[in-house]
C-alpha cells in the first residue's frame, strides 16, 4: 500500500514539475504565437496534473479550454493583427 502512495506521489511530483516549468516558459515567451503553443502545452500538462490529483472533471474542462480554445483564440487574435500589419506594409510599399 505504501508503494502505491509513493508511486502516486511521484506521479504528482513529476506533473507539478512539468506544469511549473511549462508555466514559467509560457510566461517568459515574448512572442504570442510561440506563447500560444506553449500555453497549449501548459493546458495538456495541467490535464495530466489534474488526473493524477484525481480530478478528471477538471482535467476534461482544462483539456477543452486550456489545450484547445484559449490557444486558438490567441492564434486568431495574432492572425488578425498580422493581417492588418500586412495590409499596412502593402500600403506603404505602394506609396
Amino acid at each position: 500500500m505504501n508503494g502505491s502512495y509513493a508511486t502516486s506521489e511521484y506521479l504528482i511530483a513529476v506533473c507539478v514539475l512539468l506544469v511549473t516549468v511549462t508555466a514559467t516558459v509560457a510566461a517568459l515567451t515574448p512572442e504570442p504565437v510561440r506563447q500560444a503553443l506553449v500555453l497549449a502545452m501548459l493546458g495538456t500538462a495541467l490535464t495530466l496534473l489534474f488526473t493524477v490529483l484525481q480530478a478528471p472533471d477538471v482535467a476534461l474542462s482544462q483539456l477543452g479550454v486550456g489545450a484547445a480554445v484559449t490557444p486558438l483564440l490567441i492564434m486568431l487574435t495574432v492572425r488578425r493583427v498580422r493581417r492588418s500589419s500586412t495590409q499596412q506594409r502593402d500600403r506603404e510599399r505602394q506609396r
Binding site: V14, T44, A68, L72
Partner: protein, 90 residues
C-alpha cells in the same frame, strides 16, 4: 504499485521532457511538432492511468484528447502555413 502506473511514470519522466524541449525551443512549426508528439504521449499516459488507478471511466479523457488534439494541430498548422503565405517572415 502496478505495472501500468510504472509504465505511465516512465513515459512521464522520460517521454515528455523531449517533447517539452521541442515545444520550448524552436520555430512555431517545430513547436507544433513537439506539441503533437506531447499530445500522443499524454494520450498514452492517460490510457495507462485508466488501468493504473483502476477507474474505467477515466478512459473518457484520452478519448477526448484523441479527438481534440488532431483538430487543434490541424488548425494551428493551417494558421502557421497561412501566416507564411502572407509574407510574414518570423
Amino acid at each position: 504499485m502496478n505495472a501500468w502506473l510504472v509504465a505511465s511514470a516512465v513515459l512521464l519522466t522520460l517521454g515528455l521532457p523531449p517533447c517539452l524541449w521541442q515545444v520550448y525551443r524552436r520555430t512555431p512549426q517545430e513547436r507544433l511538432a513537439g506539441l503533437n508528439l506531447a499530445a500522443t504521449m499524454c494520450s498514452a499516459i492517460l490510457l495507462l492511468f485508466t488501468e493504473g488507478f483502476n477507474r474505467s471511466s477515466y478512459v473518457d479523457l484520452p478519448l477526448v484528447l484523441a479527438v481534440l488534439a488532431p483538430a487543434g494541430t490541424l488548425v494551428f498548422a493551417r494558421f502557421l502555413g497561412g501566416q507564411a503565405a502572407q509574407g510574414e517572415p518570423d
